[in-house]
C-alpha cells in the first residue's frame, strides 16, 4: 500500500517526509518534478506517475503537493482519497493546510500520520478517534507544553477505535444541546453566448453541526425527498431506512460533519438566478478591445443575490484593462491575466455594469476566442431546488435540544460562454 509520503511546496522543496516501510530516497521525487516542469500548470500534473521502480500518486491541496510513493498494485482512488483525508485532518486540526502551519506543528503532524496509517494501510482516519488520541493544539496548551515539556498525546485511551460507531466519542457532555443543519445548494451551469442554458444541475450538501450529550439517535425528514436523485452519505446514515422511508436516520458524530451530498434530478428545470448581457470584442484594427458586461436578476424567488463576483481569464495578448464599474470594484492581474469584478449585492433597480476598453499587445494577431465568464453568487434563505426539511426527531436521550436549519444557494461551476 502506501509506502512513503512527501509534502512539497510550490517552489518544489520537500519540507516533510514520512516513511511507513523502509526509507525511500528523496530522489524518487525527481520524476515528479520533471512531470511538474513539463505540465507548466501545477494542476495539470498527472496524479499517477510511473517510475522505474515506484509509482507516484499525488494530490494538489491549496498550494501543496501530497506525494505518495507506491510499490505495488493498489487502487489509485484509494490513495487519492486517503491523501485528501490527511489534508482534511490537517485542516481540521490546525485550521489551515499550509506549509507554515504544518511546520509549526511538526510533532503533531508526525503523530497524526503515524496513527492514520499502519504499514501503509489506513488505520484511524475518523477525526473523532484521532482527537481522542492526539489533541489538537491550542495556544494555551502549546505554551504550557513548551514550558513543561508536555505533549499533545492524549492521556485517555482512544476507546472510539474499538467502537462500532468510530465516528462518535463516548461520554460526550454539553450544557447547551444543539443541532444545526445547513442545506447548501450549488448551481453548476454553462450558459451560451445568447444566455441559453447549455447544461445546468443542482448539487447539494447538508453540513451539520451537532453538539448533543450522550448517544442521541436522530431522524431528519424532508417535505419533498423525491427531489433527491442521487445521494451519498456519511457512514453514520442508515441506508436501509433511506431506501424504505426516505428519512435520514443516524447517530451523529460529535461536532461538524458532512451528513449527505445530493444531486437534484435533472428532470426538474433548474432556475438560473441571474442573466448576463455581455459583449467582449477585440478589434481587427488597432491594439484594443471593448468589454461591456451587465448582470441582472432572473429567477431569484424574491430573494436578494449577494456576493456577486465575475472572474474572466483573458487571452494572453490583453495587456491592461481600462474600465468603469457602476458598482463594486474590478482588478486585472497582469501576470495571470485574470480580471475580477467584485460586485457584492445585486440591486434590481440599478443593474451593475462594467465597461471600458482593453489594450492589447501590438503586433499580435487578434485573439480568435472570447474568454468565458465565471460567476459566483450567494442567496441566503433559499434552496433553489425547493428542498425543505420537515422535522428533526431525537430518540435515545431525554433532553430537548435546540434545532435549526439554514438554507443557502450558491453558484458552483457557473460559466457563461462568450
Amino acid at each position: 500500500m502506501i509506502h512513503s509520503l512527501f509534502l512539497i511546496n510550490q517552489s518544489g522543496d520537500i519540507f516533510l517526509e514520512k516513511h511507513w516501510k523502509s526509507v525511500i530516497g528523496r530522489s524518487v521525487c525527481d520524476y515528479f518534478f520533471e512531470a511538474k516542469e513539463k505540465a507548466v500548470d501545477p494542476e495539470n500534473v498527472a496524479p499517477v506517475l510511473q517510475t522505474p521502480h515506484h509509482y507516484l500518486i499525488s494530490i494538489l491541496r491549496g498550494k501543496l503537493f501530497f506525494l505518495s510513493v507506491i510499490q505495488t498494485e493498489v487502487p489509485p482512488l484509494f490513495v487519492i482519497e486517503f491523501l485528501h483525508r490527511v489534508a482534511d485532518t490537517f485542516q481540521d486540526y490546525f485550521g489551515d493546510c499550509s506549509e507554515g502551519v504544518i511546520k509549526d506543528n511538526l510533532v503533531t503532524v508526525y503523530e497524526l500520520l503515524e496513527e492514520m496509517l499502519d504499514n501503509g494501510f489506513p488505520l484511524a482516519t475518523e477525526s473523532n478517534v484521532l482527537k481522542e488520541m492526539i489533541r489538537p493544539p491550542t495556544i494555551l496548551r502549546s505554551v504550557v507544553n513548551t514550558l513543561t515539556g508536555g505533549s499533545n498525546v492524549g492521556d485517555t485511551l482512544p476507546t472510539g477505535q474499538l467502537s462500532n460507531i468510530p465516528w462518535r466519542r463516548a461520554g460526550v457532555k454539553y450544557t447547551n444541546n444543539e443541532a444545526y443543519f445547513d442545506v447548501i445548494e450549488e448551481i453548476d451551469a454553462i450558459l451560451d453566448k445568447s444566455g441559453t442554458t447549455v447544461c445546468a444541475e443542482i448539487q447539494g450538501v447538508i453540513e451539520a453541526c451537532v453538539r448533543l450529550t450522550g448517544m442521541p439517535d436522530l431522524t431528519l425528514s424532508f417535505m419533498n425527498p423525491r427531489l433527491l436523485d442521487d445521494v451519498s452519505f456519511h457512514p453514520c446514515v442508515r441506508f436501509k431506512r433511506w431506501e424504505s422511508e426516505r428519512v435520514l436516520s443516524f447517530i451523529p458524530p460529535d461536532g461538524n460533519f458532512t451528513l449527505m451530498t445530493y444531486h437534484v434530478s435533472s428532470q426538474n428545470l433548474v432556475a438560473i438566478p441571474v442573466y448576463v448581457k455581455q459583449n467582449i470584442s477585440f478589434f481587427e484594427t488597432g491594439p484594443c478591445g471593448r468589454l461591456d458586461i451587465t448582470i441582472g436578476p432572473k429567477q431569484t424567488m424574491g430573494k436578494t443575490v449577494e456576493g456577486l463576483m465575475v472572474t474572466i481569464h483573458m487571452p494572453k495578448a490583453v495587456l491592461s484593462a481600462n474600465l468603469t464599474a457602476t458598482q463594486g470594484n474590478y482588478s486585472y492581474d497582469l501576470a495571470t491575466k485574470v480580471l475580477v469584478w467584485d460586485i457584492g449585492k445585486l440591486n434590481p433597480q440599478k443593474l451593475p455594469n462594467l465597461r471600458g476598453s482593453l489594450s492589447m499587445q501590438a503586433g499580435v494577431p487578434r485573439p480568435e476566442e472570447n474568454p468565458s465568464l465565471n460567476i459566483e453568487l450567494k442567496i441566503q434563505q433559499l434552496a433553489i431546488s425547493g428542498l425543505k426539511v420537515s422535522r428533526l426527531d431525537m430518540y435515545g436521550e431525554k433532553y430537548k435540544p435546540f434545532k435549526g436549519v439554514k438554507y443557502v444557494t450558491k453558484a458552483g461551476k457557473f460559466q457563461v460562454r462568450t
Binding site: I59, N119, L123, L162, M215, D217, K413
Partner: protein, 953 residues
C-alpha cells in the same frame, strides 16, 4: 509510536540545508554533545523506573525522527520498554499498541518473537487486538517470506472472525500474503458479504476488490446467453466474448452453435451467492468515499448482468464533482466503460461537457468520453459542443478536439461530410496549430474515400503557401502524392514550388517532397522528370543522411538505368500500392482486461502485485463449498443463543425488520457491547473513567468465557476438518431403477458432508422419486445385513411421497474402512426391494488440512509397505494442473495441500482415521508418477487403481 520507522532510517542525519530546526530536543544543536552521548542519556532515561522520564525520552526520539535523524541504536532499549512488557497488559489498547510497535521493527532477529506475538494476538479476546494482529501479518511477511505457511494459518483463523473490525484488515493481509488461496474464502464468503456494509471504508475497498476476483472464479457469466446470442447473430460485438470473431472458421461457428443450443437448453440461473454479493455492495454506491464507490462500480461492471450495470453510472457521475485527482481517475475508468457500455452513460452526456476552467488533462479525458458516447442521435449536439471547444485558448485541448471530430467522423458515417467540411473550414483558422492538426486529421479522413474529395485536396494544396507546421506540410504533400491522379494539374505545380523551397524545409517535409517527386515521376514523367531530378540532386547533397539515403534509393528505383535491377519494374506497384485507411480508435479500447479501478488499468500496464481478473469458468464450481454448517454444539444455553442472534445482526447493518428508531437505539448500544466486540465502555454515555475500567473488567470476563467456548468449537472443528473439502461434483448412483421399483426410483450419492450424528459414518444422500400415478407411503428401511463391525444409521421414515414428487433423505453407514456393501430392504407400504450400497474406495475418507511440511513429514513415516507407486501417462485432456486436481478430488474425497510444489492431497479414512496421502508428480509429455501412502494397504491399492483410471481415461 513513530519510533519504529526511524529504526530503519539508513540515511542518518540528513536535514537539508536551509531547513529550520524543529522539535524540542535539547541536544539538537550539536554543540553540547556528540552523538553517542546524546543517545546515552536517552537510554538511561528509558531504563529508569519513572514513567515520566520514559515518556520524555520517547518524545525526544519522536522529535529526532521528525528531523530525519537516525535513532536506530536506541532500538533495544525501546523494545525492552515499550513492546515486551506491554504485550500482556490487561488493557486491550495497550496490548494492541505494543504489538504494533513490535511488528514495525524490521530486524530479522525478532521474527520468532513477532510470530509468537501475532499468534497470541490472533486469538486475543479483544477484536481490536486481533485487528492489530491482522495488520502485523504483512509486516512479518515482508520481513521474512519463509513464514508464509504459518502466517496463512493465522490468516485462516482470522478470516473466520465475525467482527467488522477485523474483516477489512485480515482481507488486506490475505491479499498481500496469499491472494492465490481463494479456497480460504469459501467458508467466509457469505459472512464477508453480510458484514461488508459495517466494515470501515478502507476495508470495504479491499474486500470488494477481492470478492470481485473470487466471484469470477466461482460463478457463471451472467451475460453468457446474451453474449452467445449476439455473437451468433453477428450483431454488436459481445461484451465478454472473444476478440477473434473476425476470421472465425467453421469449427468455431459450430462450437458456438452448440454452445448456443446449450444455453437455450439450460437457462442461466444466477447463483444466490452471486446475487448476495451484488445486493450487498449496491448500497455502498452511496458511500462518501470515492474509492468505495469506484470499487463497487468495477464490481458491477465485471460481475453484474448487463441490465443491472446501469446503476453505477449515476454514482460515477457524482464523483466528477470531487477533487480533480478523483475526476482524473474516474474519467479514465468511465472512458473504458463507455466503449463497452455506451448506453449506460448516455443520459449523463451533459455532465461531461467541458468548462474552460477544467485542467487540460481533465478536458482531454472528458473529450474522450464524449467521443465514445457519440452516436447518430446525439452527434449533432456533440458537434455543436465541439465547435465551442475549438475556440478555446488551450491549444493542446483544441488539437485533441480536432482529433475527436475526426474519430466521430470515422465512426458515424452520416456526419462524415459535415465533419470534413467543418475541418476544412478550420483550415482557414488564424492559429497555425489548429490548421496543422486539422490537416493531419483530414488526411486520415480523406484516405477513406479520396475520389469524392478532390476539391478538398486542391484546397489543401493551396495551403502549402501559408502553413508552416512541418507535420501539416508533410501530410499535405503525402496526400497530393498519393492522390495525384485526382489533382493532375495541381500536383506538378506543388512539386515545382516545393523544389524551390526544398533547402529551407524541415526533414520530414523534405522526405515527403522526395516521395511526391517519385510518385509524380511514375505517373506523369513528361511534366515532372526534370523537377524530380532536380529534387533528387538537391537531396543527394543534403546534410541529413536519411535524406541522402532516401534520394539514392529512390533514384535507383525509379530512374531506369542499365545497372538498375529487377526492382525498378515494380516501382509503380511499390509506390502506388493502395494503402489501408488508418483506424482511428480510442486509446481505451480493450483496457477492460485489467480490473477497473486498478493502478494497472490506469497505467495500461501490469503493476507489480497485480492479480489478474480471471475469466468466468465454463461450468460453475460446486456452490456447496460456501455452505457453513451450523454445528450441533451451538445448541447451548439461552444466553449463547441470544448472542448468536446478535452476531447475525451486526450493529449498524440496518436489517429490514428494524421497527423504530427508539428501539433500535436501545438495542444498538446494547448489542454493541455484546456483539463480541469487547468494547464495553465504548458506547456507555457519560460514565467516568473509573467505572469504565471496572466495566471493562467484567465484560472481558464474559468474553473470556465465551472465548473458551469458541476455542472448544474450533478444536472440534479442527478435529473434524469438514470445512475444507474442495468437494467437486458429486457422482450419483442408482439404487433402484424405476422399472424394478414399480414407479419408485432411488438414486444415491456420497454427499461428502460430515454425517452429523456419528463422525465415523459416511453420509449417503438418497433421492426418492415417485414416477407412478399413486402416492407411496411409509418409505423406510428394514432387515439390514452387514459385515461384522459395520453399522448403519437409518434414514427417517418418509411418511408419504405423492405421485410425481421427489424427496431426499440422508443415512449414515460406517463401512469400517472397507468397500464391502451394505445390504438392506427398502420398504414402502406395499412392497419391499432388496438393495445394496457399495462405496467406491475414494468415499471412505474425508479431507484433512495439512501444510506441505506436515505432509512431507507424515509421508516420511509411511514408507515401504505403506507406499504404492505407479507410473502412468496422462490423458491429453488432463495435463493441466486444474484437470488433475479436479479428477483426483472427484475420485477421492481428499483436499489439496496448499501451495505444494507437487500436486499433493491428504485425507483420513472415516472410521479409523488413518492418513491417506496422494502425490501426483508430472513430468514432460504427460509422464506421471502417482504415489499413495496409507497405513491400510488394501485401501491404498484400491485407491491407486481408481485414481489411475480417472487420470488416464
Amino acid at each position: 509510536m513513530s519510533v519504529s520507522s526511524a529504526f530503519n532510517d539508513e540515511k542518518g542525519g540528513s536535514s537539508s540545508v536551509g531547513e529550520p530546526e524543529y522539535g524540542h530536543d535539547p541536544a539538537s544543536g550539536g554543540i553540547f554533545s556528540s552523538d553517542y552521548k546524546r543517545h546515552d542519556d536517552l537510554k538511561e532515561m528509558l531504563d529508569s523506573n519513572k514513567d515520566s522520564l520514559k515518556l520524555e525520552a520517547m518524545k525526544r526520539i519522536v522529535a529526532m525522527i521528525a528531523r530525519g535523524k537516525n535513532a536506530s541504536d536506541l532500538f533495544p532499549a525501546v523494545v525492552k520498554n515499550v513492546a515486551c512488557k506491554n504485550i500482556e497488559d490487561p488493557n486491550q489498547l495497550i496490548r494492541a499498541s505494543a504489538l504494533r510497535v513490535l511488528s514495525s521493527i524490521r530486524v530479522t532477529i525478532i521474527v520468532p518473537i513477532m510470530m509468537l506475538a501475532i499468534k497470541e494476538a490472533a486469538s486475543d479476546m479483544s477484536p481490536y487486538v486481533r485487528k492489530t494482529a491482522a495488520h502485523a501479518i504483512p509486516k512479518l511477511y515482508s520481513l521474512d517470506p519463509e513464514q508464509k505457511d504459518q502466517l496463512i494459518e493465522v490468516i485462516e483463523k482470522l478470516l473466520a472472525d465475525k467482527t467488522t473490525l477485523v474483516a477489512g484488515s485480515v482481507v488486506m493481509a490475505f491479499e498481500e500474503v496469499c491472494p492465490e488461496r481463494i479456497d480460504l474464502i469459501h467458508k467466509n464468503y457469505r459472512k464477508l458479504c453480510n458484514l461488508l456494509i459495517d466494515v470501515e471504508e478502507w476495508g470495504q475497498v479491499v474486500i470488494i476488490n477481492m470478492l470481485t476476483r473470487y466471484a469470477r472464479t466461482q460463478f457463471l457469466n451472467p451475460n453468457i446467453n446474451e453474449s452467445l446470442l449476439e455473437e451468433g447473430s453477428g450483431g454488436e460485438k459481445a461484451f465478454y466474448g472473444s476478440d477473434d470473431d473476425e476470421d472465425e472458421d467453421e469449427e468455431e461457428k459450430e462450437k458456438k452453435a452448440e454452445a448456443m443450443a446449450m444455453a437455450k437448453r439450460k437457462p442461466y440461473v444466477m447463483d444466490p451467492d452471486h446475487r448476495l454479493l451484488l445486493r450487498n455492495t449496491k448500497p455502498l454506491l452511496q458511500s462518501r468515499n470515492a474509492a468505495v464507490v469506484m470499487a463497487v462500480a468495477q464490481l458491477y461492471f465485471h460481475l453484474a448482468p448487463k441490465a443491472e450495470v446501469g446503476v453505477i453510472a449515476k454514482a460515477l457521475v457524482r464523483l466528477l464533482r470531487s477533487h480533480s485527482e478523483v475526476q482524473y481517475v474516474v474519467l479514465q475508468n468511465v472512458a473504458t466503460m463507455t466503449i463497452k457500455r455506451r448506453g449506460m452513460f448516455e443520459p449523463y452526456l451533459k455532465s461531461f461537457y467541458i468548462r474552460s476552467t477544467d485542467p487540460t488533462q481533465i478536458k482531454v479525458l472528458k473529450l474522450e468520453v464524449l467521443t465514445n458516447l457519440a452516436n447518430e442521435t446525439n452527434i449533432s449536439t456533440i458537434l455543436r459542443e465541439f465547435q465551442t471547444y475549438i475556440k478555446s485558448m488551450d491549444k493542446d485541448f483544441v488539437a485533441a478536439t480536432i482529433q475527436a471530430i475526426g474519430r466521430c467522423a470515422t465512426n458515424i458515417g452520416e456526419v462524415r461530410d459535415t465533419c470534413l467540411n467543418g475541418l476544412v473550414q478550420l483550415l482557414s483558422n488564424r492559429d497555425e496549430l489548429v490548421v496543422a492538426e486539422s490537416v493531419v486529421v483530414i488526411k486520415k479522413l480523406l484516405q477513406m474515400q479520396p475520389e469524392k474529395h478532390s476539391d478538398i485536396i486542391k484546397h489543401m494544396a493551396k495551403l502549402t503557401d501559408n502553413i508552416q507546421v512541418p507535420m501539416a506540410r508533410a501530410s499535405i504533400l503525402w496526400l497530393i502524392g498519393e492522390y495525384c491522379e485526382h489533382v493532375p494539374k495541381i500536383a506538378p505545380d506543388v512539386l515545382r514550388k516545393m523544389a524551390k523551397s526544398f533547402t529551407n524545409e524541415e526533414d520530414i517535409v523534405k522526405l515527403q517532397i522526395i516521395n511526391l517527386a517519385a510518385k509524380l515521376y511514375l505517373t506523369n514523367s513528361k511534366q515532372t522528370k526534370l523537377l524530380t531530378q532536380y529534387v533528387l540532386n538537391l537531396a543527394k547533397y543534403d546534410q541529413n543522411y536519411d535524406i541522402r539515403d532516401r534520394a539514392r534509393f529512390i533514384r535507383q528505383l525509379i530512374v531506369p538505368t542499365e545497372k538498375s535491377g529487377a526492382l525498378s519494374k515494380y516501382a509503380k506497384k511499390l509506390f502506388l500500392a493502395l494503402k489501408p485507411a488508418p483506424v482511428l480508435e480510442s486509446p481505451f479500447k480493450d483496457r477492460d482486461h485489467f480490473q477497473l479501478g486498478s493502478l494497472s488499468h490506469l497505467l495500461n500496464a501490469k503493476a507489480g502485485g497485480y492479480q489478474e481478473l480471471p475469466d468466468w469458468p465454463e461450468a460453475a464450481p460446486d456452490p456447496s463449498v460456501r455452505n457453513v454448517e451450523v454445528p450441533e454444539w451451538t445448541k447451548c444455553s439461552s444466553r449463547e443463543k441470544r448472542r448468536e442472534k446478535k452476531v447475525e445482526k451486526p450493529f449498524y447493518s440496518d436489517s429490514e425488520g428494524e421497527s423504530g428508531p427508539t428501539e433500535s437505539a436501545d438495542s444498538e448500544s446494547d448489542s454493541a457491547s455484546g456483539s463480541e466486540s469487547g468494547s464495553g465502555s465504548g458506547e456507555e454515555s457519560g460514565s467516568g473513567s473509573a467505572s469504565e475500567e471496572s466495566e471493562e473488567g467484567s465484560d472481558s470476563e464474559e468474553e473470556e468465557e465465551e472465548m473458551e467456548k469458541d476455542n472448544k468449537k474450533k478444536t472440534k472443528i479442527e478435529f473434524k476438518k469438514q470445512t475444507i473439502a474442495p468437494s467437486s461434483t458429486v457422482k450419483s448412483y442408482e439404487l433402484l431403477h424405476r422399472i424394478t421399483g414399480e414407479g419408485l426410483s432411488v438414486e444415491y450419492c456420497f454427499s461428502r458432508q460430515p454425517f452429523s450424528s456419528d463422525a465415523n459414518m459416511v453420509a449417503v444422500q438418497m433421492q426418492f422419486t415417485n414416477n407412478s400415478t399413486s402416492e407411496t407411503k411409509s418409505l423406510h428401511m428394514e432387515d439390514v445385513k452387514l459385515q461384522s463391525g459395520m453399522r448403519v444409521k437409518e434414514f427417517a421414515e418418509i411418511e408419504s411421497l405423492p405421485a410425481g414428487e421427489s424427496a431426499t433423505a440422508v443415512m449414515g453407514i460406517d463401512f469400517c474402512d472397507s468397500t464391502q456393501a451394505a445390504n438392506f430392504q427398502l420398504c414402502t407400504h406395499t412392497r419391499k426391494f432388496f438393495v445394496s450400497i457399495q462405496p467406491p474406495v475414494g468415499e471412505l475418507m474425508q479431507p484433512v488440512f495439512l501444510t506441505e511440511n506436515e505432509f512431507k513429514k507424515e509421508q516420511g513415516q509411511l514408507m515401504g509397505m505403506n507406499e504404492i507407486t505407479e507410473k502412468l501417462t496422462l490423458d491429453i485432456k488432463c495435463r493441466n494442473e486444474h484437470a488433475i486436481v479436479q479428477r483426483v478430488t472427484t475420485t477421492a474425497n481428499l483436499s489439496r495441500v496448499p501451495c505444494g510444489s507437487d500436486k499433493e492431497f491428504a485425507g483420513r479414512t472415516v472410521t479409523s482415521g488413518s492418513l491417506v496421502l496422494v502425490t501426483v508428480v508430472t513430468k514432460d509429455e504427460g509422464a506421471t508418477q502417482l504415489t499413495v501412502n496409507c497405513e491400510k494397504m488394501v485401501i491404498g491399492t484400491m485407491l491407486v487403481k481408481d485414481i489411475l483410471l480417472a487420470l488416464t481415461q
